[in-house]
């Protein structure tokens, strides 16, 4: 996959939020084969010595994608992105500007404003967006390196609520489409890829699974399976059956009624 001017082998991007321990995070990252992983920025609290996920990420040689999680305005998000650029020495930013804490839906107005400012400031902007084809088009026109529509709300685990919207976004996009948020299990990731998404970003479905490493494996395989299925070209959905075995050359082994499957004695 080409994203942000670079080639990536993996089409699964992993979030690091929600893991119960760094050990579980590390085993899941290994199992996922993800190359890009997200992290957040928060205040240093010297009274709590929570270990940094960076040690794990650096040890595995993964690419850090900072996010602006928790920002409600373009101003906050732009500042956070600039701080992240200093902290991680990267121009890449996963842009999140949310509207409220009940839905965690993006605030479209602030999101587009922030995206325009960050592109102008030289960032590779990957915006978490509503599954709105028009907004996706506006973000692409603003110069974003990808569009990342939600399947359903962050952490909801419902999969893709409206596959038609994802289809519309994929159909028009000339930048990669990354399904971000809503994945609950492997089949959701496969569906996203079958709809034509270029990649999937997944955090909660893996982090909060009973066995995160195993779910990371499942979602990795699902992303690959969905990608291959999309490229293979699926058959159309039909109301009626279509025999897979040709009737030509079928042996004549009964009378006419019997051939139609009707009980001869009753007929």
């Amino acid at each position: 996959m080409k994203l942000g001017g670079r080639h990536w082998r993996s089409r699964l991007i992993m979030g690091t939020g929600g893991f119960r321990s760094l050990e579980e995070l590390e085993s899941a990252l290994v199992a996922s084969a993800a190359e890009i992983v997200t992290v957040a920025l928060r205040r240093v609290d010297p009274t709590r010595s929570a270990p940094s996920p960076l040690e794990v990420i650096d040890r595995l040689g993964l690419f850090v994608l900072p996010n602006t999680a928790g920002c409600y305005t373009a101003r906050e998000a732009v500042r956070t992105a600039q701080l992240a650029r200093e902290a991680f020495e990267t121009d890449w930013i996963k842009l999140e500007v949310i509207g409220d804490d009940r839905t965690l839906y993006p605030d479209a107005v602030e999101l587009l404003d922030a995206a325009e400012q960050l592109v102008a400031d030289g960032f590779v902007v990957l915006p978490y967006t509503n599954d709105d084809p028009i907004l996706a088009r506006r973000l692409e026109a603003a110069g974003c390196a990808a569009v990342m529509p939600l399947g359903s709300p962050i952490g909801a685990g419902r999969g893709i609520d409206n596959e038609h919207h994802i289809r519309l976004i994929v159909e028009q996009a000339e930048v990669p489409v990354i399904l971000d948020a809503g994945i609950g299990t492997a089949s959701d990731a496969a569906q996203a890829m079958e709809l034509g998404c270029d990649a999937v970003l997944c955090a909660s479905a893996i982090a909060r699974a009973d066995d995160p490493a195993r779910m990371a494996t499942a979602i990795r395989l699902a992303v690959e399976a969905g990608y291959e299925a999309r490229r293979a070209g699926r058959i159309p959905r039909r109301l009626h059956a279509e025999a897979s075995t040709s009737p030509l050359g079928l042996a004549e082994l009964g009378d006419e009624a019997g051939e139609r499957g009707v009980n001869v004695e009753q007929a």
Partner: protein
Amino acid sequence: MTVQINGEGHDLAADTTVADVVRTLVRHSERGVAVALDGDVVPRSEWNTTVLRDGAQVEVLRAVQGG
């Protein structure tokens, strides 16, 4: 002088720099650490030379799990 660091007031010596504050708060690697002074980013290369003023608002951030 009094400086707000991550929302809490601290009495600091007059010539305290951003680098001094970071060293006090961050005991492990400084990778993944960023500083804002009165809302603006302080580049890492300027931590040593940026002296805090009375009433300054400093935010010291670091990488956490997220996203």
